[in-house]
Each structure stands twice: as structure tokens, then as C-alpha cells.
């Protein structure tokens, strides 16, 4: 079931520059379990789009299958959405982007959706550097099919039923860095202060932006012994940096200390301001990002924040050199070579 929100909006609600209230970025009421991490991520997406002055109809939301993949109904109610098939959101998003490169694409997936059934597509969409935001709502289990271990469950993690996961986890963020994703971040559904600027930066990034968000499943994987529970994550979280997102239109007033602070200019001129917490990590250096991840893991920490960014890589449209106008808007004049050309071609076949 899904429930429509009341249509009535208080006239004095604050509006963003486009005249939209935050409520305009919401979707139908969530039907996920109360306390599910996924709902907090939806709220962060709403907040980010509101603050970023995104035109809702210029965004398309796509997902696979799972509790996580249901969430696109719960944000951006005026945007087109597509709840596709299990593990295959990347290919659908790729096709959609090929049809119209001028829209923003937000893909939502789960750890089952991306790290198991959809691993092939996850890997290949990174390789192609598709211009999209890809969020994995990672709860270490299959929520929608009632709590089976997923491939991101840590070895030794205990399920609600009491069994211990014997298999090594797949670390999606490390893997994304390894595969050359051009924006890789990790966060926690319970840390809105970090998550919102990360989503904003990801939406402004021109290329594949991956955010792995640890998002506890309160119903099946929030027990003692689970490494994806709220308590465990809060105790083991370690941020790379604090993050401020400064939109391109805004005047920069703050003074930054060049030693520990880094500024990254995104393609549209927006700035990401990072106050680094780890000195041997440089977000523009893939090797140091990968090693920071490994070090954190060996200490049992979950490293969060922006991990790696590369603003210079070509995205898929740039690589294949497609025209700037959307392919779905080309008409017969653009597409059909006409009878004279065909007649000439026929000559060569006689």
C-alpha cells in the first residue's frame, strides 16, 4: 500500500529559490517499517534536492527491487520514477540516460540488489562512468525477503535468528574506487549532517557518483552482534572529513585553513569544502583513498564521508560523443537519411 499525503500545504512554508517548498520534494507516505534507515535516506534526498533548487521534473528516479528500491515513491513525487527489476537498475538508467542526457538520474539500490544479483551491472555502470547518482541503502541483509544475509554482511556478523555469517563481505565503496568510479562516498543513514551535502555534491558531479549508505534494517538486522545495527555503526564510524557544499551561485565568505582543509570545485562551479580529519588521505588521489579504506577496515572502523572524487573524467555521453540534445527529441529530419541515400546504397548492392 502507499498513502497519499494531504494536498493542503501551509501557505507560509519556506520556499527555495524556485519557489518550491520542501514538501514539494516529498513523495507518498512511506510504508517501510518505522525506524528503517531507508526512510532517513529518502528524507536526506528530499532535503538535498530542496536545498539544491532542483526542478523536480528534471530528475528521473530509478531503482531495482527491495525495500530500498521502493523508496523512490517516497521522495520527489513529481518526478518520473521506475521501479524496474531486481539488480538491473543500472542498465535501465543507462538506457534512460542515452535517451535524454539533459535530465538528472538518481538510482536507488540495495545491497542485495547491487552486491549479488546486480553485481554485473553495478560493475559495468561504473566502468562506463554514466552520469548519475547511485545510492545503495546498505543494511547487510535482504529486507524485503525477510532478512537473509546479503553479500555485504560482515563475516562474523550475527543475524536476528542467531546464525553467524561465515562469508567475507563485499565492500562496495572500495570496489567502486578500485573500478574507477569518479565520485565515491560512504555515509550512515543516521548522519543527516553528512549525508545531505554528500548527496548535493553527488548530484552536481558530472559522472558516476556512488554513495554507499549504511542503513540499518530495524526489523531483521538491528540485533546485538549485527555489524549493521544502529548501535554498532554509531560506535565504529570514522569520518574522513566534515563536508560543506557551497552552491556555485553563493558567495564564498568563510576563510579556510589551507593545511587541513581542501576545496574541490565541481563542474558547475559549486564548491565542496572538506575539513580533513585524516592527514594521509587526499580525496583526489585514488591510491590514498583505497588505502584509507583498507586501514579503517583493519581497525574495525567504518570510514564515512567523501572518499574519492575525480571531476575530470569523461562521462559516457562524452565518451561516445553523442549530440548534446536529447536523442529522444530528434525527429525524422535528424534521423532518416531519405530515399535518395537509400537508392544510392542500393546501387552498391547490384
Amino acid at each position: 500500500m502507499s498513502f497519499q499525503r494531504p494536498l493542503f500545504r501551509h501557505p507560509n512554508l519556506p520556499k527555495n529559490e524556485l519557489g518550491f517548498a520542501k514538501a514539494d520534494y516529498e513523495g507518498t507516505l512511506s510504508t517501510l517499517c518505522a525506524g528503517c534507515g531507508h526512510d532517513s535516506i529518502s528524507a536526506a534526498i528530499v532535503q538535498a534536492c530542496y536545498e539544491l533548487n532542483v526542478e523536480p521534473h528534471r530528475v528521473a528516479k530509478l531503482s531495482g527491487i527491495g525495500c530500498s528500491s521502493k523508496t523512490p515513491t517516497y521522495f520527489l513525487g513529481n518526478s518520473h520514477g521506475f521501479n524496474s527489476v531486481h539488480g538491473r537498475m543500472p542498465s535501465v538508467a543507462t538506457g534512460a540516460s542515452m535517451a535524454n542526457r539533459t535530465l538528472k538520474y538518481i538510482g536507488v539500490s540495495g545491497d542485495g540488489d547491487s552486491a549479488s544479483i546486480g553485481m554485473g551491472q553495478f560493475v559495468h555502470v561504473i566502468r562506463r562512468n554514466l552520469n548519475m547518482v547511485y545510492i545503495v541503502m546498505n543494511n547487510g541483509c535482504y529486507g524485503l525477503t525477510k532478512g537473509q544475509d546479503s553479500a555485504t554482511a560482515d563475516v562474523g556478523s550475527k543475524s536476528k535468528a542467531g546464525s553467524i555469517n561465515p562469508f567475507q563481505p563485499i565492500d562496495l565503496a572500495s570496489m567502486a574506487i578500485e573500478l574507477g568510479a569518479t565520485f565515491v562516498a560512504q555515509s550512515f543513514s543516521g548522519d543527516k549532517r553528512q549525508l545531505v551535502p554528500l548527496i548535493k555534491a553527488a548530484m552536481d558531479h558530472r559522472g558516476f557518483a556512488f554513495i554507499n549508505v549504511i542503513s540499518p534494517c530495524v526489523t531483521f538486522n538491528n540485533n546485538v552482534g549485527s555489524t549493521k545495527s544502529y548501535d554498532y555503526v554509531r560506535d565504529h564510524i570514522e569520518a574522513t572529513a566534515t563536508i560543506d557544499f557551497v552552491p556555485h551561485a553563493e558567495e564564498i565568505t568563510a576563510q579556510y585553513d589551507p593545511g587541513t582543509e581542501t576545496e574541490i570545485t565541481l563542474h558547475d562551479g559549486s564548491l565542496l569544502h572538506l575539513k580533513k580529519l585524516a592527514n594521509d588521505w587526499d580525496p583526489m588521489d585514488r591510491i590514498s583513498a583505497a588505502s584509507a579504506m583498507q586501514k579503517a577496515r583493519s581497525k574495525g572502523q567504518i570510514l564515512t564521508g567523501l572518499l574519492y572524487i575525480n571531476e575530470d573524467a569523461k562521462n559516457l555521453h562524452e565518451t561516445i560523443e553523442s549530440v548534446p540534445s536529447p536523442l529522444n527529441q530528434l525527429d525524422e529530419t535528424d534521423l532518416c537519411p531519405g530515399s535518395a541515400v537509400l537508392d544510392d546504397l542500393m546501387m552498391s548492392l547490384r
Binding site: 500500500m1 502507499s2 497519499q4 507518498t28 526542478e55 523536480p56 521534473h57 528534471r58 528521473a60 530509478l62 523512490p72 515513491t73 513529481n78 518526478s79 518520473h80 520514477g81 521506475f82 521501479n83 524496474s84 527489476v85 538491473r88 542498465s91 535501465v92 543507462t94 538506457g95 534512460a96 542515452m98 535517451a99 535524454n100 539533459t102 535530465l103 554485473g120 551491472q121 560493475v123 559495468h124 562506463r128 561516445i320 560523443e321 553523442s322 549530440v323 536529447p326 536523442l327 529522444n328 530528434l330 525527429d331 525524422e332 535528424d334 534521423l335 532518416c336 537519411p337 531519405g338 530515399s339 541515400v341 537509400l342 537508392d343 546504397l345 542500393m346 552498391s348 548492392l349 547490384r350
Partner: protein, 599 residues
């Protein structure tokens, strides 16, 4: 007495030795002499080293199906020589490389052996081993030209066309041709077959079905192709890309008005097609049976979520380790009913390159009009062999049917809009594309757990209502599909032949033969699924119908029984499924065995 313009010649080569272009040169020279030919590649699933054959049927009568019985064998592969000799028809001719003598026990008293020392001639003329290999092929083409009476300047012209831009290579090739000609002359060789110029080709072309489908996709306005390599469909996507590189480049910026993506697998290929279709671009994929198997879940999504998509299935024999390089019509039921749940899909079934072009172009109109997946179903024989065909034609006044897509203005005018609401009574709802309107027309796409307004529901009544509307749409589909071809203006017999796709070539020839033996027959060629009223009528009006197809399970027959409630006893299966294109003799024998047709 010479047999003129009516024989089968087979070339036995080693895969990967450059024989394909020499053999095509031969086939095209006969075509240029104004005589219909049909050419078949018979090749292994291998890149280099295994035997491969190329068969050309020369038929003044215009029979374009395969004929068994080899009149002339050009045997240049020692590996398969013994088998090749054995396969020549009694009274036939074997042309071989006599640089080394033949084993005694290979000899047959009932055929003629003509030896040409190909290797020796090459070794004397060339030092480079690659040249020795390549020109050996050209030398035998020269020898054949002289033996059969093919005009030398026809071959010269063809070489000049083939090497346009690489003119340096022309004299070498002409010289090799001449070596073959000279050898035949000097040794007074001759055979009882010949080619005589005719004027039977007119403006017809020689083309592969895959290339014609690719051109159909270009003319039909496809902007996205996603694919994964699989024989025999690979050349569809490759031809699309190369035509697009010629015809779809922005003249000012050099940028592309198309996207071709080689996907990670067929699942992803179909996902991309569906994503693009959802977002309003004409898109397609090309694959073969195993790829269709992988696409099944997405095919269902296209059906239920009502998303335009085009799938070109070039059928082959069996699984990956079946006979992937042999032809068959065995994906019929697979594509007609692909996927989970209650699903069925429109299928277009061309028989020749012209129809490949037209039906592929049409498939995009149908997919967008009907908001569903449309299949273009061909086979290896049509896709990868050159066929004599009417030229492809395009009407410049033709516009694309983009189907029921609402613009921002439409949305402003509309009081209410439901994505799955049947306003027109044809079962086809109106859709919107992302990015159209700031406030209106956004909706959430999912399978069937939604109502007519695309709002989430798992109410069984809503599900059933939607499934029933899809049946209304299925009825509309029937009115838009190309009608079957009837081979008579009025029925003359109570016995009918029914066939489709490449089976048509042999079936029409078989029909002529049966009629020559005194039988009266009616015939129909199915061009699409679901079937139109003309198919139903044909079945109703005939007592018995021979359903001729190239698969084991009589799949078309099953579809007819299933869709039209036909009495199965009326439909007699005539089947061929050995991986080779069906022959008229095969059909005649099976029909005669079932029920002798005489006057």
C-alpha cells in the same frame, strides 16, 4: 548437352583463409550476368582452421531456396576432401588442387575430376605465404569463370569495386584470375555446366538480412542500440553502427545522433533498451535464442509496464554448444510467449531482405504505438547469407508514429490523466516522458501493482482490469500487423500449404513441383503474430493444411492451434531441423509420403 544456368556449386574451404571474399566474387559475378542465385554459408563455430563451405545455387527459374545434390564441387580443403568427393552428385564434377595426387581410394567412377595445380601455380607466382593462400582462391575463381563462361570483365568490374580506394591491389587480383583462365585454356578443360547471360535480375539487389534490418533501424529512427555479441545476430548491431557512422553524424560538430552500447550481457542489453524506450527514444537490441532466454524477465516488464522496445532475434540451432552457426526457426514459441505470467508479444516475420528492412522500420512504429516489445524474427539463413531481393525503398513523405505521448500542452489541457487509463477504447493508454512538464504527468512505473492512475495497489480487481485491458490492446495489435501473403486470389483446393520466413523459398518451389505433378494447392505465408483474420479464414476454408517449418516441435502449428482454436488434425507438420536450410525436395517428399498428390 550443357546444363545452363541451373546447377549447384559448392566450395569447400578452410575457415579463415580468405576464401569468403573469393567465393562471393564468384556468386556476385553470376548475379551480374543477370541470373538469380542463392548463396549459403555453411560454417563451423570456429575462427580458423576448420572446414567451411559456401554453396551457390544458380537458378534461371528463380528458385532461391537451397537444393541438395552438388553438381560442381570446388574442393580445396584437404581435411574434408574425402567427404566432399562423396557428396558430389552422380555425374557431377570435382575441381581440386592436383599439386599433390589424390588417394586412389578417393576416386569415384561416376564423377569427373578436374585437377588444377593451384598450390604449384601460387608457389611459382608468389613468395609471400599470405599471398599464396589468398590468390589460390582467386585463381580457382578465374578457372571457374573460364569453365562456366562467366564474362571476364564482369569479374574485373567487381574487383575494381571491391578495391576502390586500394587500387594497387587490383592488378594482382586480375593477374591471379587470368592464371586460372589460362590454365583452363592451355589444358583444354571443359565441363557440361555453363552460365549464360540473362536479364532476370532487373533492379534487384544482393544483400544479407542482418544488414537490411540494420538499415531498417536507421530509417525507422532508432537512436539507441544495446547488444551483446552472439552469432548469427552480431552483424545486425555492427551494421547499424557502421551505417550510423555514415548517416547519423552531425555535419557541423561531428557528434553522433545515436548511441551504440555493447552491454555486459543480454540482460543489460534489454535493460538499456527498456530504459531508453521508457524515456522516449527508439531503441533495439539484436540477439539469438540464448540471448532471448536471458532477456526474459525484462521482456515481461516491457509487456506489463507497457514500454516500447524492439528485439531482433536471428534464430540459430540450439544452445551455445548446439549448432550455433546453423539455421533454424526454433525460437517461435520462445518469443511469442516470452517471460513470466500471462504475456504475449507481437512478432514480425520477414522472408527476404526487403521485408527485413520494412518490418524493422515498422517495428519501431508498432512498439511506440502499442507501448510494448515488438520482435523481428529472422534466422541465420536470412541474416547471414546474401539474398536476391527487391531493392529497399523509402517513401520520403512517411513520418514516424510516435504513439500516444502527451506533450506539456496536452497535459495542461487535460483535466485528469491516468497512465493506464483506456480513454480511446483500443486498450492503449497515454504515456508521458520524464522532463515534460514541471507539475504534471510525473508517475511511478512498476509492473502491475498499480491502478489506472499508476498509484500503488495490490487490489486483485485492479490487476484483473488491467490484464483485461491488455487483451483489448492485443486485439488492436491484430489490426496493425502486416497481413499474411496469399498465393492465389481465390481458393482452388481443399489442401493448403502454410509457411513463413525463409521456408518460403523452398515451399513455393515445392508447390510448383507438386502442382506440376497434378496437385492443386493453395498457399499462405504468415508474416506476423498475432494472426490476422486472413489466417483464420485460410485454415477454416481448407480441409488439410501442411504447416512447413524448420524446427522439431512444429512451433507455428502450436501457435495456430493455441491462438485460433484450430482442430489439430487439420494441421499436418512438415518439418526440417537438421540445421541446413530446408529444400523443396525435402518438402515434396514429406508431403508425398503423407498423402500422394497426383492428378
Amino acid at each position: 548437352m550443357k546444363k545452363t544456368n541451373d546447377f549447384v556449386i559448392r566450395f569447400a574451404n578452410v575457415n579463415g583463409t580468405g576464401s569468403a571474399s573469393a567465393n562471393f566474387l564468384f556468386a556476385k559475378s553470376v548475379f551480374r550476368m543477370g541470373i538469380p542465385i542463392s548463396a549459403k554459408n555453411i560454417f563451423p563455430s570456429n575462427i580458423q582452421g576448420l572446414p567451411t563451405w559456401y554453396e551457390v545455387r544458380v537458378s534461371e527459374k528463380g528458385y532461391l531456396g537451397r537444393r541438395s545434390g552438388i553438381d560442381l564441387m570446388v574442393a580445396v580443403n584437404p581435411q574434408s576432401l574425402e567427404k566432399d568427393i562423396a557428396s558430389v552428385k552422380e555425374g557431377g564434377v570435382l575441381l581440386y588442387d592436383c599439386t599433390k595426387p589424390l588417394y586412389e581410394h578417393y576416386l569415384r567412377p561416376d564423377i569427373r575430376f578436374i585437377g588444377i595445380p593451384l598450390m604449384k601455380l601460387c608457389n611459382e607466382a608468389y613468395t609471400d605465404p599470405r599471398q599464396r593462400q589468398l590468390f589460390k582462391n582467386i585463381i580457382y575463381v578465374g578457372a571457374l569463370a573460364e569453365l562456366l563462361g562467366i564474362e571476364f570483365n564482369v569479374l574485373e568490374d567487381l574487383l575494381a569495386e571491391q578495391f576502390a580506394g586500394k587500387e594497387k591491389l587490383i592488378p594482382y587480383n586480375v593477374q591471379a584470375l587470368q592464371m586460372g583462365v589460362d590454365y583452363v585454356r592451355e589444358n583444354n578443360l571443359n565441363i557440361a555446366l555453363n552460365v549464360e547471360r540473362r536479364d532476370l535480375i532487373g533492379d534487384k539487389i544482393l544483400m544479407e538480412g542482418n544488414a537490411a534490418c540494420a538499415l531498417g533501424a536507421i530509417y525507422g529512427g532508432a537512436t539507441m542500440a544495446a547488444w551483446y555479441p552472439i552469432t548469427p545476430s552480431t552483424s545486425v548491431a555492427q551494421a547499424f553502427e557502421s551505417y550510423a557512422e555514415q548517416l547519423r553524424i552531425d555535419p557541423v560538430t561531428g557528434q553522433k545522433k545515436f548511441a551504440v552500447l555493447q552491454a555486459e550481457d543480454e540482460l543489460a542489453a534489454m535493460g538499456m533498451v527498456i530504459g531508453a524506450g521508457w524515456n522516449g527514444a527508439r531503441s533495439f537490441t539484436a540477439t539469438s535464442g540464448p540471448g532471448v532466454s536471458l532477456m526474459n524477465e525484462f521482456i515481461g516488464l516491457s509487456y506489463f509496464a507497457e514500454i516500447p522496445a524492439v528485439l531482433i532475434d536471428v534464430q540459430r540451432t540450439g544452445p551455445s554448444t548446439g549448432m550455433p552457426t546453423r539455421t533454424q526457426q526454433s525460437d517461435l514459441t520462445e518469443v511469442a510467449y516470452a517471460s513470466h505470467g500471462d504475456t504475449k508479444h507481437p512478432v514480425l516475420i520477414p522472408s527476404n531482405p526487403k521485408e527485413c528492412f520494412e518490418m524493422t522500420a515498422l517495428s519501431f512504429d508498432l512498439a511506440e504505438r502499442l507501448q510494448t516489445l515488438v520482435v523481428v524474427l529472422i534466422d541465420l539463413d536470412l541474416g547471414m547469407n546474401d539474398h536476391v531481393s527487391e531493392p529497399l525503398k523509402w517513401d520520403d513523405s512517411r513520418t514516424y508514429d510516435r504513439g500516444k505521448v502527451l506533450s506539456a500542452d496536452d497535459l495542461d489541457r487535460l483535466e485528469k490523466w491516468g497512465r493506464y487509463l483506456d480513454v480511446d477504447g483500443d486498450g492503449i493508454p497515454y504515456r508521458t516522458l520524464p522532463g515534460t512538464h514541471p507539475q504534471k504527468g510525473g508517475y511511478f512505473t512498476r509492473g502491475t501493482s498499480r491502478d489506472e492512475y499508476a498509484k500503488y495497489t495490490e487490489d486483485g480487481k485492479e490487476y484483473k482490469k488491467n490484464m483485461d485491458r491488455l487483451l483489448v490492446k492485443w486485439e488492436t495489435t491484430k489490426t496493425l500487423m502486416p497481413s499474411a501473403e496469399l498465393y492465389q486470389s481465390a481458393y482452388q483446393s481443399d489442401t493448403g500449404l502454410l509457411f513463413f520466413g525463409t521456408t518460403a523459398y523452398a515451399a513455393t518451389e515445392a508447390m510448383e513441383r507438386l502442382e506440376a505433378e497434378g496437385g492443386q494447392l493453395d498457399a499462405i505465408r504468415i508474416k506476423s503474430f498475432p494472426f490476422g483474420p486472413e489466417v483464420e479464414d485460410f485454415i477454416r476454408q481448407h480441409k488439410q493444411i501442411f504447416v512447413i517449418e524448420q524446427n522439431r516441435d512444429a512451433q507455428m502449428r502450436s501457435l495456430l492451434i493455441n491462438e485460433l482454436d484450430t482442430n489439430p488434425a487439420k494441421l499436418i507438420p512438415i518439418l526440417n531441423y537438421d540445421g541446413m536450410p530446408i529444400t523443396a525436395a525435402n518438402i515434396v517428399n514429406l508431403i508425398q509420403a503423407h498423402q500422394p498428390i497426383t492428378s
